[in-house]
């Protein structure tokens, strides 16, 4: 009972982004002398609630949650709060007095900013005309990334979204969907992908069809994206640095457990990675 136990209920460890977040938290926990327990609900909301409840049952000192669907957790969070367990929420904000700190990037705002970056590219390098394909997956976060992007795009009248593909966050599905989309729309010259598998699938599809397309996308820089960035196929890329979120969540919770004051919100701005700043961000 000397060492505090922090429960980390992630989104899905099947996605590298969340693994990095867990990595950051592990680092901080080791440094600060806390036990970190990781639960992986595999993107299943029901399992996430169960895992969260298991954390309450095992009397964790604090809980970090990366919500799959923010509304689903209202009940268990209240339970935890009443049991005196402080909670940190990553990525997706949760309205609850028991969530002592919210960490992450405001997805809609960040994607609108990124959309402005894309608009700049379209106006500057493509004469303001672009046929855009969007590759997404139906999760709350990724839909927000699409909506923010579309908001920014309204300022470029000749840039139109001609097709949308659902990659379901599964690489094979994403690649098949992208292949079909590119076949049906030979005019597409820009692709915006709201997550790793979607971007990777679209890249592979374009490569197999030998198409010249400007790629923009989200999340992290796994190995497969380095070369396309160097080759200039990926023009811009939002790197969220999820490690920061995981690490800071542990730090804030430890402070909270010691009774120190902490901020209610902690936002960090994502970096837009391009060909030029790739090396300093790896």
């Amino acid at each position: 009972a000397d060492r505090p136990t922090i429960c980390y209920v992630t989104f899905s460890l099947q996605v590298e982004y969340f693994q990095l977040g867990v990595g950051g938290a592990k680092k901080a926990a080791q440094e600060l002398g806390a036990d970190l327990i990781v639960h992986d609900p595999q993107a299943d909301t029901g399992k996430q609630v169960s895992d969260f409840e298991d954390c309450i049952a095992r009397k964790a000192s604090a809980i970090i949650i990366d919500p799959i669907e923010s509304t689903a957790l209202a009940g268990p969070i209240e339970e935890a709060g009443k049991a005196g367990i402080p909670i940190a929420a990553l990525d997706t904000p949760i309205k609850s007095p028991y969530v002592v700190v919210q960490l992450g990037i405001p997805q809609f705002d960040a994607s609108r900013e990124f959309g402005q970056f894309v608009s700049g590219y379209i106006i500057g390098k493509m004469g303001g005309t672009a046929k855009i394909g969007v590759m997404l997956a139906s999760s709350e976060v990724q839909l927000a990334r699409r909506d923010g992007f579309l908001e920014a795009l309204k300022d470029v009248p000749h840039a139109t979204v001609v097709a949308t593909g659902d990659g379901r966050n599964i690489l094979e599905q994403a690649q098949a969907a992208a292949e079909n989309m590119l076949t049906a729309h030979p005019e597409i010259n820009v692709i915006y992908a709201t997550g790793d598998p979607q971007l990777q699938g679209a890249l592979a599809a374009a490569q197999s069809q030998g198409r010249q397309i400007a790629f923009f996308g989200w999340d992290d820089v796994p190995e497969p994206f380095v070369k396309p960035l160097q080759d200039g196929r990926i023009i811009g890329f939002v790197m969220q640095k999820p490690q920061v979120g995981g690490e800071m969540a542990v730090r804030f919770l430890m402070q909270k457990l010691k009774g120190e004051p902490i901020p209610a919100r902690y936002t960090y701005n994502p970096t837009i990675i391009t060909h030029d700043n790739l090396e300093q961000n790896r």
Binding site: I37, T45, G46, S50, R58, K59, E69, S138, S139
Partner: protein
């Protein structure tokens, strides 16, 4: 060709009379195998209570019971389907569609009671379609596999992929409230299980479903309404899947087209673990409850032990095989072995 003669090397079994001790041991073995899953559950509970301080707390047990309640509700439906020798793969998708529909209707101001009745009707209606296809002669696996794919597609079409929050207090109460000190999901599961148990063992419908699964041709010539029975069991399964969907949505305060992915496999595993035959003719609702709790407690226990979550999956699969092996194969062998000693008495 080999030319080795059989020798009468084996001892003359029928002549070897077991001693009294031997007899008691045999009786115990039969009993142990028959209630294998139940005993497995008890052993697991005891072992876990020694391994983790948090396991045997009221809070944890209640949590697990709540988590299991949708599986129990849907498992009762699946028990009836399997009693007739069928299978229903579409229940997870019905959960998704129902949770989206209920959320949308509630948001449109439909009174909660009406919305709930409405989605129960939708679930039962989808079950009727499944049953009708099975009655036409499509193998249940295929008919409900098509349902699995199409119905989830409908959930996505209807919700456009978005999950939506539920704010209606009555529905939220279904998911997280309590009545007379008992959590509502647990209460619902208990009522459904009790009604299911009664219907299977004590009503004409239950016997007819078992007869249909036991030998369809005999049921037919005895004048049972096989076609109607098939439609009925799938309708029950669909309706209970909808009820499960309401519980899931209420527990998550959220209607999502991603709800219930893979839930059909949990439900089928629970029913089979409970001892219901995949080939029909023999079914037990009580077993289904034990099977569902077994799966949940294994996950919960491994979680509390901080086992790598990936290993939990591996272990779950192995336990499934081991339990079924015990239930079906050993059961036969041991019962035969015991019959020897019984007739020796």
């Amino acid at each position: 060709m080999e030319a080795k003669a059989y020798q009468a090397t084996k001892p003359d079994r029928a002549a070897a009379r077991p001693s009294g001790l031997d007899l008691r041991a045999r009786r115990f073995a039969v009993w142990a195998v028959r209630y294998g899953t139940f005993i497995g559950l008890v052993i697991w509970l005891v072992a876990m209570s020694f391994s983790s301080d948090y396991f045997l707390t009221g809070l944890n047990l209640l949590n697990v019971a709540k988590q299991t309640s949708p599986i129990i509700v849907m498992g009762v439906g699946a028990t009836f389907v399997m009693a007739t020798g069928g299978i229903d793969l579409s229940v997870g998708s019905i959960v998704a569609l129902v949770s989206c529909l209920a959320t949308a209707w509630l948001a449109d101001g439909v009174p909660p009671g009406l919305a709930i009745l409405g989605v129960l009707g939708v679930g039962a209606g989808l079950g009727v379609i499944n049953g009708f296809l099975v009655r036409l002669g499509i193998p249940p696996f295929i008919a409900t596999l098509a349902g699995l794919v199409s119905i989830r597609g409908l959930a996505f079409v209807y919700s456009n992929g978005y999950a939506k929050p539920i704010t209606d207090p009555f529905v939220l109460w279904i998911g997280r409230g309590s009545l007379a000190g008992v959590d509502v999901p647990i209460l619902i599961a208990a009522v459904v299980a009790a009604v299911g148990m009664f219907a299977l063992n004590r009503t004409q419908f239950g016997i007819h479903a078992l007869a249909l699964g036991g030998r369809e041709e005999a049921a037919r010539v005895m004048g049972l309404p096989n076609g109607r029975l098939k439609i009925l069991v799938y309708a029950i399964s669909g309706g209970l899947a909808a009820l499960g969907g309401i519980i899931v949505a209420a527990r998550l305060s959220n209607g999502s087209p991603n709800a219930g992915i893979g839930l059909e496999l949990d439900v089928i595993s629970a029913v089979v673990l409970g001892g219901t035959s995949l080939f029909g003719g023999s079914a037990t609702v009580l077993g289904t409850i034990v099977g569902a709790l077994f799966i949940s407690f294994i996950r919960n226990g491994l979680n509390l032990l901080d086992v790598n979550p990936y290993w939990v999956q591996v272990v779950t699969g192995i336990v499934l095989v081991a339990a079924v092996l015990l239930n079906t194969i050993m059961n036969k062998r041991v019962e035969q072995w015991a019959r020897i000693s019984a007739s020796d008495e």
